[in-house]
Assembly symmetry: C2
Homo-oligomer: 134 residues x 2
């Protein structure tokens, strides 16, 4: 079931400063910021050749990463996203295994325009896991 690692998301309090760390200090390719109001974040992508890192800054008043940044003011790894061939088959298999899907359990359209689901960190080794339709 588990496919490619699509991305690792790092939540940051200041996207411009975080971009400078990756672009200038680490010498990485970083895209221009995109605001995603429907996801409550502004994002840049870092190309690591085989996968990508997303740097996420909160956008708006109900950003889903606001609570994480309150607990981790300097930022930190927020979630990891794996690709799956069929997100509905994967969801049903996970539910049958007793894993909890966040929200109403139906896939939403994610930042890359594809259906995504989030899995409960308590069922996945303390790690927030996103599944994205490949």
């Amino acid at each position: 079931m588990l496919g490619r690692l699509n991305h690792v998301a790092i939540a940051v309090p200041d996207l411009a400063a975080a971009t400078a760390v990756y672009r200038d200090t680490l010498g990485a390719k970083v895209t221009q910021p995109q605001t995603l109001p429907e996801h409550g974040v502004t994002v840049v992508f870092i190309d690591t050749v085989n996968t990508k890192i997303e740097l996420l800054e909160p956008l708006g008043e109900n950003s889903p990463i606001a609570a994480f940044l309150e607990k981790n003011p300097a930022g930190g790894m927020h979630h990891i996203c794996y690709e799956v061939d069929d997100i509905i088959v994967s969801r049903d298999r996970l539910k049958a295994a007793g894993a909890r899907i966040l929200g109403d359990g139906d896939p939403k359209i994610g930042a890359h325009g594809k259906p995504v689901l989030f899995l409960h960190p308590k069922d996945f080794l303390g790690t927030l896991v996103e599944l994205e339709q490949a």
Copy 2:
């Protein structure tokens, strides 16, 4: 400078249980456990096609992941490892930029038999970053 994402490491309190989550619930390929006494961990690798996940369980009394698991008893993402072409050139460039290298600043031989360094999380968005010679 920044190359491939070599792996994401997830620290876990119980490697057998964590292996079951990835192998049975998520349907991933997981290797047999390897004890690495010189690194203070037992590790399994998960193949995600384009990169890998390492699940780390503490080994021995001075495991470098023990403190992390005290703070995060259910486990969590512990570090992220990027490949670099020349670890000495990268280290010197990072030091010149004011970034802190953990330990004595000299590369050690990592779990994959290649020279590695760890960078201070406070300089890298709250994320422990490992650099590995490609």
